[in-house]
Symmetry: C3
Subunit: 191 residues, 3 copies
């Protein structure tokens, strides 16, 4: 379950990065750069602060290849989609939910501390998107919406509390994902 | 003395982060995010480049809790203050002075090299504020004022030179703090 | 050869950082800050993700001193130059080419993986300039030109492939540098 969430987070964030590159009319290398940056950015920062180096994508280059594949697909498909910005927002919501759980899981496994797990959950979930918006000079997802960080916080807390209570990981991660996605998705629909 | 400067730096930078969130009319989670980011940002980068991982707030979550407490207080008190931006500048000056000494002290203890101590002093003192301004889309404190980095440099140099000369740490850190705060405070008063 | 490319990369990137500070009319400390940030920024990120900590300039402060010397020279010489922005672009191209090779060489030596070497080559070559543009609030070199990341990619790939094929390092690094510089230089001349 965690493994699926991990690759799902990388791929959907990579897709949002490539969509941002598409909005800026970059060339294919620009697509791949933004895909990789957004896909692995949050997890890289998480690994750095936890002292888990070399970081995950240096140990397993499969993550980088997944970002590149995603970037290529988006490069050839993006012009087919009228509503690129809305799609970016919804994919970002899936990535946010997946990474809030993944980040908390790794923080918890690595330190055993629930507060740190919640912080690394938020960090992992939000930093890829923040980097993407800063580098693409887009309005920051951080200032745009009231429930971006809140959704990551809710997902990370839900997962961490259930996990500490001894709930099976598959259930606690599904619950964390659902809570974060519901909150963020509700905000996108409203606004 | 160093311990007091350390928590003082975290708390006042956290307060400046929360004030930036207040100027952007974010919700309470946004306040906490900016408080934590600004409070521990400079020290996180310092720990990363020195190879002191996991970084300080992963080892002692008390720093994160101090940021959260500060963020909550600012959230409920900020609307009482007319001159939020001026307050942010002055608190930022205190944080800058405290962290220029703290960063140099940790760099010196960690490497024994005076030039590196001065660089980590500047890094620790300035990076929290720089991150805050970039993410909050404020005019960067870096470009706004002529004596921002200079004040951090003066504080870090004063502390490091006195320390290398064998002056007791309490005196050298007080002197470093005073020099940095006087320079930056003078610049804020003038303009 | 690698050693020359390394210092060449630091010095020319430091010069571009100082030129950016000149365009923003900062004081001399601002020049030194931007020189150091741009000169060692890309390599710092490379070392962090590879887990090579403390990072290179903490181990050898000579890099920081080279940035400071460059910053001082640019501070006193920059007003003599009419076409600061064009000079910045060309120096940036040299730094980009040198670092795409250096970053790939260190990534390859550190992990033995060709894909990771290419990624760290791009990372090292582009991140100093990206940081400079974000902090100086300049139009990002990333969005400005179509062949910025592509040139770094081409240089890193050329070096890595030749190196894996067993070509002597002096030849493979010269070839990587030439390819990256030709691509980026061509783009600057055209546009």
């Amino acid at each position: 379950m965690l493994y699926i969430l991990d690759y799902a987070g990388v791929v959907v964030f990579a897709a949002t990065g490539a969509l941002a590159a598409s909005r800026k009319q970059l060339d294919i290398i620009g697509f791949l750069f933004f895909a990789a940056l957004t896909g692995v950015g949050g997890g890289t920062l998480r690994d750095l602060v936890l002292g888990r180096t070399p970081v995950f994508w240096v140990i397993d280059p499969g993550y980088v290849l997944a970002c590149i594949a995603t970037g290529i697909i988006v490069f050839f498909a993006a012009h087919l989609v009228e509503w690129r910005y809305r799609l970016l927002l919804w994919l970002d919501a899936i990535g946010l939910a997946a990474y809030s759980v993944m980040g908390a899981a790794i923080g918890l496994a690595s330190t055993g501390s629930a507060p740190i797990a919640i912080v690394t959950g938020i960090l992992t979930a939000t930093c890829g998107g923040i980097l993407r918006d800063i580098l693409a000079d887009e309005p920051s997802v951080l200032l745009r919406s009231e429930v971006y960080i809140s959704a990551a916080l809710a997902g990370a807390c839900t997962f961490t509390f259930l996990e500490v209570l001894g709930v099976p990981t598959v259930a606690s991660s599904a619950a964390g994902f659902a809570v974060a996605f519901a909150l963020r998705g509700g905000a996108i629909r409203k606004g």
